[in-house]
Symmetry: C2
């Protein structure tokens, strides 16, 4: 069986400060560099205040033939944005191809975060 074509959408809140949005886009670019081909498309999308919004970011993957789209919340806490708003935005996507669209656990839930914080504390 051929591997499925996969897209990754890194979702952040979005800011009026464009430099913060660009910072998220750079993280997405870094993910693309390091993903070693696990994802064919990787880009950032935003809940509000910046483009593309979440539905457009996911739609772009579907329209480009991705069979699986992973939405990855770039958030540190499981607040309303993660629990309610992101799923609601993802549900707006017009999934005409029947692609699998799923939401991965948010960054703050990652077990490796403590190690990274301890590394930062020595810098």
């Amino acid at each position: 069986m051929a591997e499925r074509r996969r897209g990754l959408v890194l979702v952040a809140h979005g800011s009026r400060r464009e430099a913060s949005n660009d910072e998220v886009r750079r993280v997405a670019a870094q993910l693309a560099e390091q993903s070693a081909g696990r994802f064919e498309m990787i880009h950032a999308a935003f809940l509000e205040l910046a483009e593309p919004l979440i539905p457009a970011g996911v739609q772009c993957c579907i329209d480009n033939g991705m069979e699986e789209v992973v939405v990855l919340p770039y958030f540190l806490s499981a607040g309303r944005h993660v629990v309610e708003d992101i799923p609601a935005e993802v549900a707006k996507v017009n999934n005409t191809t029947g692609a699998e669209v799923r939401i991965a656990p948010y960054l703050g839930a990652a077990p490796g975060l403590a190690d990274i914080l301890l590394e930062q504390s020595e810098k």
Copy 2:
């Protein structure tokens, strides 16, 4: 030379949603578990909306005899909070003992973040 007594203050924004503040406190507790004695005291502090505030969190380390206090911003982007507000709050501390108080790079600048995000994307 004896090793210096060190404290770590994990600084988050603070939320009206107490569960989010508790989530930060749990990350601080996890850091304490994993720090292997590199820090004698580790706790969370907040820019606003939750206790302790940053000056109190740092002061607590100084008053307990820490000779070095590392303030670690639990933030994903280098916005105003990281660039201006956290340093301004840290400057309010009454550093009577001459402890070294320094602000570590914020979480979003950590080089290992991309690896953790890619791990999350497979969950």
